[in-house]
Symmetry: C2
Subunit: 200 residues, 2 copies
């Protein structure tokens, strides 16, 4: 016996297809939406459509934006000689929060993963290399992909392809996070921290 | 500096207003929606609107439904002499999954909470008492509110108001959940289990 009407079942399924939302959470979200005021439900629905239709990709850095080029790419005060390569648009926001980096970005929308051709189609590595060959002022590419197997493979791939171009390819330092206790740090992180030690 | 465009910021805020979704999850969901195909984003948006507009409350049991009375209230095979009072529509689905209960339901959409008059307005206790006074065939009310202070207060409130009506008011048993280890059970649950012990 179906416990919910088709429209509610559909809403639950749509919610459950979102990342990090299981069946139970999808139920909870769907019933929260049902108990919302009509205006709030409409506003939520429209927010999805509006954000989706207004958001385009910056033709330069591939980040999500509502104007092309995006505010960062068109900012004259930014250092145009450095590109920070990140996996997702969220990473750009994380970097911007630190107020430490003043260069440009390139959003990959994924990682280098040759065994999944469909995912590879979405990854903007091609656009990165095109951008680097067109713009001779760029002299450093910081590969800020995640510290995962795929993230490291992407960094290696980029560094190999740029080997003879004279562009410096760097990777974010791996080591102990701030506030960490050496006793509880995993072996790989500790090895990386030791290898990457700096003189004080 | 704003890191996102207003429409994306709006979507993040809408997502973060849903229950159990923090700022980080809201970011993740919003960016997932932005990277969806246009049709999928449209379908998600429409699912919200459609479920919200098609879903009404059953005039009898106050459960969410697309037809009034709801399938359970209009089912001739159900036992019309028993009403199970639950806090939310999700609880109805949970009961139905057990295939144990064949009576009717009443969905409170909240709990008895006299210090929050705004929330009390939404609670359908009034409709429950109206239903009980109109329908003389009902002879048992099972109060299946949560085992919380508010849930217990609601049960007490209902049982007091129905004291002289001849309607039996019962409460779900409290005790050890299946598969539990007595060593790890909290004191209150163990006391309840002891007090509610049954002869085998």
């Amino acid at each position: 016996m179906a416990h919910y009407s088709p429209s509610v079942e559909n809403l639950i399924n749509r919610m459950a297809s979102l990342p990090g939302i299981g069946r139970k959470s999808a139920h909870r979200l769907a019933f929260h939406i049902l108990s919302m005021d009509k205006e709030d439900a409409k506003a939520l629905s429209e927010a999805i459509l509006e954000a989706h239709s207004k958001t385009i990709r910056c033709s330069c850095c591939q980040n999500f934006t509502d104007s092309d080029p995006c505010p960062i790419c068109s900012d004259l005060k930014r250092d145009k000689t450095t590109i920070c390569v990140v996996e997702s648009p969220r990473d750009v926001a994380t970097f911007e929060r630190t107020h430490e980096y003043r260069g440009l970005y390139h959003v990959l929308h994924g990682v280098y993963n040759p065994i999944d051709p469909k995912a590879m189609e979405r990854v903007t590595l091609k656009q990165l290399f095109a951008r680097l060959s067109e713009d001779s002022s760029i002299n450093e590419v910081i590969v800020a992909t995640n510290q995962s197997t795929e993230g490291n493979a992407t960094a290696l791939y980029i560094s190999r392809l740029l080997k003879d171009t004279g562009i410096k390819v760097t990777r974010l330092a791996s080591g102990l996070p701030m506030g960490s206790d050496i006793e509880y740090v995993d072996d790989l992180t500790l090895s990386n921290a030791l290898r990457g030690r700096i003189q004080i």
